[in-house]
């Protein structure tokens, strides 16, 4: 399972765009990149998933360069409610895979 590295914490202000970068140098050919969000006293919630290039949904965008050794989660115009821990994971979609959660990035959005 590929190991990921993310910044421990980030600070931002309401209305700004936030980019969280994750390094995964040992990503395998069949691995996908998935991001989860976790609020205090709740379980993680799936945000976005991708394999290469760019993926966008109603919540975020995910940018993956050609070598796939890193990825960037982009949150447009954050609000106070986006204050949470964000986890980057890599792994196969199917089969009998297990997910390895790292420490995540603690994002604090200020007024």
């Amino acid at each position: 399972l590929a190991k990921t590295t993310q910044p421990i914490s980030m600070d931002s202000y309401e209305g700004q765009e936030v980019n969280i970068t994750c390094s995964h140098n040992n990503i395998a050919t069949n691995d996908y990149i998935t991001w989860y969000q976790q609020f205090p006293s709740q379980g993680p919630r799936f945000i976005i998933q991708g394999y290469k290039t760019k993926v966008t949904n109603e919540v975020a965008s995910l940018f993956i360069p050609a070598d796939r050794k890193s990825s960037t989660l982009s949150l447009p115009r954050v609000s106070l409610s986006d204050t949470a821990v964000y986890y980057c994971l890599v792994g196969e979609l199917g089969g009998y895979n297990k997910l390895i959660f790292g420490a995540g990035t603690r994002l604090a959005v200020h007024p």
Binding site: T34, S41, Q42, G43, F46, E92, G94, G102, A103, G104
Partner: protein, 113 residues
């Protein structure tokens, strides 16, 4: 929203008691997981199941045990609780064809006195 439920949400109990944490999902998912998370720390996989009568230990050693008699139900049991078991326990599930994404419950926060 994913339909995965954990009970109780909070439990404070004395040392030596037998505890069962419940986890149920209504999505028909074959894969289910238990994670342990201390406050402000990362999640650690302690048990997982790929279907009925299938259970495996995860990456973090745990004194707890699990069972999977029905697809929708994946309870975790501590035979004799100790203060070192104090933590948050999160249950998750995913469907057969894809291990991701995992759908999480809101967890049980367990405190052993």
């Amino acid at each position: 929203e994913a339909d995965i439920y954990q009970t109780p949400r909070y439990l404070v109990i004395g040392t030596g008691k037998k505890i069962t944490l419940e986890c149920s999902q209504t999505m028909g998912h074959d894969k289910m997981y238990w994670y342990q998370q201390d406050p402000g720390m990362e999640l650690h996989l302690i048990h997982y199941s790929y279907g009925v009568n299938s259970t495996e230990k995860g990456d973090l050693s745990s004194e707890s045990t699990v069972s999977r008699i029905r697809t929708e139900h994946f309870p975790l049991t501590l035979e004799s609780a100790r203060p070192s078991h104090t933590s948050q326990y999160l249950c998750a599930s995913s469907d057969q064809t894809g291990g991701q994404p995992q759908h999480f419950g809101d967890g049980t926060r367990l405190s052993i006195l």
